[in-house]
Symmetry: C2
Subunit: 175 residues, 2 copies
DNA sequence: AGCGAGTAAGACCGGTCTGTCTGCACCTTG
DNA sequence: CAAGGTGCAGACAGACCGGTCTTACTCGCT
């Protein structure tokens, strides 16, 4: 419920009253479960990490590839499908980070969840035996985030472009 | 005045009342010059394109390099300095695009100004005689935008990482 | 049966937002 | 001097925000 609204329209655009009304719950009940709206947003970010990062992206990529290197590159195949969906809504972590700023608690939480994504990439890089896996993951993450913004602009080929650069990155990190 | 506030704190976080008060102008006078707040934001975006895109980034990069290829790579040198500034505030075009969404008029305007940035890159690519300059510019732009988000997360080396991948991109677009 | 916990519904509070309108001082032009 | 335009200051409108609190009702438990 809140997950759909937050991920599609952003945190700032969805008010507590609307959430209350749509979920058919009383306001007092809501505030008994969550001390503030920000607490609900934190819960949303955690759910987003599981549903989107772990299941939809990393999980799907692991299914599509057999070797760690294939699984890494498959991330951008998943992105390519995702960018074409009509309910494509960019990345909530990036959205909230840029919307609230890195100093805000929700911005900090977004940074943490983005670091978790980078951790998945780094783990695959280590399995693939690549050099300097942390540097690799940070560069890889630049491609992921950049392609998401380009897709938001309307470039449906953004995933392919990023994947091409990603393959060069892999080559340069081979032992 | 409005430029500083909008670029540092975002469009949604700065209200008309605050702008009025800080600029020492009457509210009626403001609304005589701009029919709405969005019209002011549009003027801000245009100013941002000149001050930031044209002068601060592309202009500086052209000063730092002699050949088109050097000027392209110098973009990320400029980014590196920019990321270290304490008043680094990410890219207003990306911020507004993700904040308002691509359907909103301000999101559309942001997409247009991002396309102008890509146009500068494409022009340099053509001067450098690179293959498929439009594809080159779109891939290059992915690196620019991805590094900006990474810098917002706190990665001070984001510009270096993007520059490394950018050099590989140049190599693969040589005739 | 009677009691208390939990909940839906929504009034309410202080504050914010964009945008309009009024009052008053000033300043130029005839 | 008089008229009219201009601009500042700020009240005001109408909507919305996050968050608190009251009211009425429905349950489950003893």
């Amino acid at each position: 419920m809140a997950y759909e609204l937050f991920s599609r329209r952003g945190v700032r655009d969805v008010g507590v009253n609307e959430l209350i009304e749509r979920s058919g719950v009383a306001k007092a009940t809501f505030y008994r479960h969550f001390p503030s709206k920000d607490a609900l947003v934190l819960a949303f970010l955690e759910q987003r990490d599981q549903v989107w990062t772990v299941d939809a992206i990393v999980g799907q990529a692991k299914l599509r590839g057999t070797t760690p290197t294939e699984q890494l590159l498959a991330i951008f195949d998943v992105f390519g499908d995702w960018f074409l969906r009509d309910d494509f809504e960019a990345c909530s972590f990036i959205n909230i980070l840029l919307e609230m700023g890195p100093a805000h608690p929700l911005g900090q939480a977004s940074i943490d969840y983005l670091a978790r994504i980078r951790g998945h990439v780094q783990a695959l890089a280590e399995q693939a035996g690549l050099d300097r896996p942390e540097d690799f993951a940070r560069s890889w993450h630049i491609l992921m985030k950049g392609s998401i913004v380009s897709a938001t602009e309307g470039d449906t080929q953004a995933a392919k472009r990023a994947q091409q650069m990603a393959s060069w990155l892999i080559e340069h990190h081979r032992s």
